[in-house]
């Protein structure tokens, strides 16, 4: 992205009606490594590609449990993500303490969006440089939301954000009509297939650089462990979404 006039702070509009600082913040999300989410009528799955800053380092975690019924996957500035993660966890705990039930998902996403918007309307603040995919289950059903630095939020059937996410979205566009009725296993395989579309030629998916989180109506949020990831990645070879159509 080239530099623009009118981009010094959040309180300056451009003549075209853009807030450049907010747009720049959304660039930070696009630079993060890919994470995606997809849901069926019973489950939500989050998949992300973990980056390793150097060979000596560990892999950066991208998915965080907010509560038993909710989790997020992040793309962008991890430090900003930690702030939002802490806020969401605190809100869930307070809600549970007061009402003895789970925080409705949409409502928490709305709160995060409000917080994000607040940062886009001040001369002294900067927007959060992170986009979240919020997966959650509440009495209203199964949810997948995306939040972004602008303070907007959207609900999705499936979505991918971060670097090279367009490839994953293209995969989704071809196959998302199957997701509603997919089993959990099929959902994970779809997610991993989508991520595979988004990795570089010389990279390969393995249990170290991929993170998969699953959530279900009767399933608290869990990460797949290394062995389960290995098994799923092995199954990817023989996974053919066309066979799922024949079943139905």
């Amino acid at each position: 992205m080239l530099k623009h006039l009118y981009d010094t702070d959040c309180v300056t509009w451009s003549p075209q009606g853009k807030l450049f600082q907010v747009e720049y913040a959304m660039e930070a999300v696009k630079q993060g490594s890919i994470c995606l989410g997809l849901k069926s009528s019973e489950n939500v799955v989050l998949c992300s590609l973990k980056r390793q800053p150097s060979e000596l380092a560990g892999y950066q975690e991208k998915q965080f449990k907010i509560d038993d019924h909710m989790a997020i996957a992040i793309a962008g500035l991890t430090a900003d993500a930690r702030v939002l993660c802490k806020y969401m966890r605190t809100e869930c705990l307070e809600y549970k303490y007061t009402y003895e039930s789970h925080h409705p998902v949409g409502r928490l996403v709305f709160k995060v969006a409000e917080k994000s918007q607040h940062k886009t309307q001040s001369g002294a603040k900067r927007p959060y440089g992170v986009g979240l995919l919020v997966a959650g289950i509440d009495p209203n059903g199964v949810h997948l939301f995306e939040t972004c630095p602008s303070g907007n939020y959207y609900e999705y059937k499936c979505q991918a954000i971060g670097s090279r996410s367009q490839a994953a979205r293209t995969y989704f566009e071809s196959w998302f009509h199957l997701f509603e009725k997919s089993t959990l296993e099929q959902l994970v395989l779809h997610g991993l297939s989508a991520i595979k579309k988004a990795i570089m030629e010389d990279e390969e998916l393995n249990e170290k650089n991929v993170e998969v989180g699953i959530l279900g109506k009767n399933l608290k949020f869990t990460h797949l462990n290394a062995q389960e990831l290995k098994d799923y990645i092995a199954k990817l070879e023989g996974f053919n979404p066309n066979s799922q159509i024949q079943q139905e």
Binding site: Y97, T98, E100, S101, G106, R107, F110, D138, P139, N140
Partner: protein, 236 residues
Amino acid sequence: MIFNSEISGEQQHTTSPVVTGGSVIALVYNGGVIVGTDTLCSYGSMAAFKNVKKIAQISKNTIYASSGEFSDFQQVVKELAKIDRSALQYDDGVHPSPKDYGNFLARLSYKKRCKINPLYLQNVIAGFHNGERYLSLVDIYGTYLESNFITTGFASYFCKAIISNYWNENCTLDQAKQVIRECFKVLFCRDCRAHDVIQLAYVDAQGAHIEEPERVETKWDFNGFKSRANEKLHTQ
């Protein structure tokens, strides 16, 4: 030194009630939950307000009643209505369940109790949510108890035997109503702060139904009252 607390702005703590409501009796039945109260607010031993509606509808499927300080009852109704209203602001179709209200009230009562400024109430929250009946008691300390039947005040002493003998959790609505009417009959006879006009309200799958007040049947035309054979005139 200023000793008059109105001038000095000291915070006052309410630890004794002024206008009080009587017992609440609530039972679960096969299709929902029913709550009964009388319609009296007492000013100490004076039966001051005899036509008071003491059962409030909090949301479509939740009702609330309490015994104790009536101004605190009114305040709690406002607090619980606030929650339901804020759900409208979010506009996401999520409404608190009866259990959410019950827990909220327990947290609120506990907080005030810890500051030695309690809501002077025994609260009963009744509701029907997702096909399940809900009935709970929150007391003045913030204790939260879910149960199939709840009695507060003197009903806990006089009415448990009647409930135990004539009620079970799968009885019909009419049977439950009869049990409650019988309980209030006994209360009117034995509890000095009770009244013979009661109000029933029930919540089922269709929502909350609050009935008009009704007078409990009582019998006063005993021969013993007329002849007063048991009373001796002491003349000296």
